[in-house]
Symmetry: C2
Subunit: 273 residues, 2 copies
């Protein structure tokens, strides 16, 4: 087994392909796993998407995404919980044990970051039994602090881990995405204490300058500033042996021919080890 056997293409990297196109691309390039997103899955229908993936013999490394738990309006909060329960069921139907959570930014109209964090913890608590019933783990993803106000107040792997630690390990863990966490001086020690809690490991590079939309500043492995091998080694040392996703949000990558993107992903992936 080589590292390439663990490569998973997160379909956001080839955003303009639907599920069948992305699945076909993986099959053509010998990529054995795929990370799916709910929107394209819904376009095809969950059952049909599951069938397409199964027919191609691919593993589904994760489903993106649940979360967005921080609402001032109780009805919106109730809707978010319901939507996350649906996402858990979809993950199970798609055959993945990992649902990635982007937990949400500040509560609209409030600057109280502690309130947002408590709201996230409360929501996860409500989802735990549903996750357990479906055999799906919720992966709390720490997002880069530049997204704290509007997307995710959970900003460090260590913080995600502290939050996860309050719940059973078969229901809640963390997602480690190099783009979001590479800068953290506590990263090595936080990964070490994440043993048993790593639900997903995602790699892409930090490039500069940041684009006008900072969500889209990710690069192929090797195009930027991240020193991947020590991070990958720490993740392995912490016992994570699952699929490793390449997830790149980048207008240029999205505009490239998907086969070129898949070839670059495959070629660069070993540089992360």
């Amino acid at each position: 087994m080589t590292v390439l056997d663990r490569l998973s293409l997160n379909q956001a990297t080839v955003k303009r392909l639907g599920v069948p196109g992305a699945v076909d691309l993986c099959a053509r390039h010998g990529i054995a796993a795929i990370g799916l997103w709910r929107e394209p899955v819904a376009e095809l229908g969950v059952k049909e998407a599951a069938a397409v993936v199964r027919a191609a013999g691919l593993r589904v490394s994760s489903l993106c995404r649940g979360g967005f738990f921080t609402h001032a309006d109780p009805a919106a909060r109730t809707a978010a919980i319901a939507d996350n329960k649906a996402a858990i069921a979809e993950a199970a139907e798609l055959g993945t044990g990992a649902l990635v959570l982007v937990s949400g930014g500040l509560v609209p109209g409030s600057r109280d970051i502690g309130l947002a964090r408590r709201m996230i913890a409360d929501a996860i608590a409500e989802l735990v039994p549903v996750a357990q019933a479906h055999g799906v783990r919720l992966g709390i993803e720490a997002l880069h602090p530049m997204f704290a106000a509007d997307r995710c107040v959970i900003t460090r792997l260590g913080e995600a881990l502290d939050l996860a630690a309050g719940f059973p390990g078969d229901a809640v863990g963390v997602v480690a995405d190099t783009y979001h966490i590479w800068w953290d001086a506590a990263l090595a020690s936080d990964i070490a204490r994440a043993r048993g809690r790593i639900v997903s490991y995602q790699v892409c590079d930090w490039t500069l300058p940041l684009p006008a939309d900072p969500l889209l500043g990710r690069g192929h492995v090797g195009d930027g500033y991240i020193d991947f091998p020590p991070i990958s080694a720490a993740v392995a040392a912490a016992g994570y042996a699952g699929d490793i996703e390449v997830e790149i949000f980048n207008e240029t990558v999205w505009g490239a021919p998907p086969d070129e993107t898949a070839a670059t992903v495959t070629k660069r992936f070993p540089l992360a080890f």
Copy 2:
């Protein structure tokens, strides 16, 4: 004494004024302290700048900035040390006990963030006796993680503090700038353990969207997402009783009439407490 007695205008907020113009602005608006930058000070001459500030009866809350210690080229490193020694002497001549350090990003040609951090620690060690001889404290500023690659690998107040703790407290401390550190779940506990080490406290707001140049995305207190009062209370509880700078890098603010900026700064400042 009210909080307004502790307001200091960092001159970067009115970047297009020189030292005399910024000093005059402070005097007109009843602002008792100013944070100076080396470039405009050098334009006027250090001795003359010190005289202008003294004549106006202003306190100098800090000098910005030393740092940029991370160089692959030994000659560049030697030059950086010499430049920082000069900055310490300038701070003393200007009558401030605080030199703000922006420590530097990754070493050119290297992705080893640990190497950059060790280089910073080594440089600070070399500067400690010079700082002590001049009665100036080096304030290690944690910059927002989005600047880790290119400007400062020290990304959290806690990390700055861990670094400072290796040196005598009369020589090395930390700078707490709300813009850079507001998102950190460990902020309250890190501020509490910063007792005796806070060299400067700076306030400005996190606004969205990020501008094309992410260095310039800061807003007036109240224009963005930061919950200032708990942070200011924690800084006060940690024993910091010095001047509090408003430092805003923002093209719109720079384009506004300086008197309007000073009026807004003065009006908004109490909202931070």
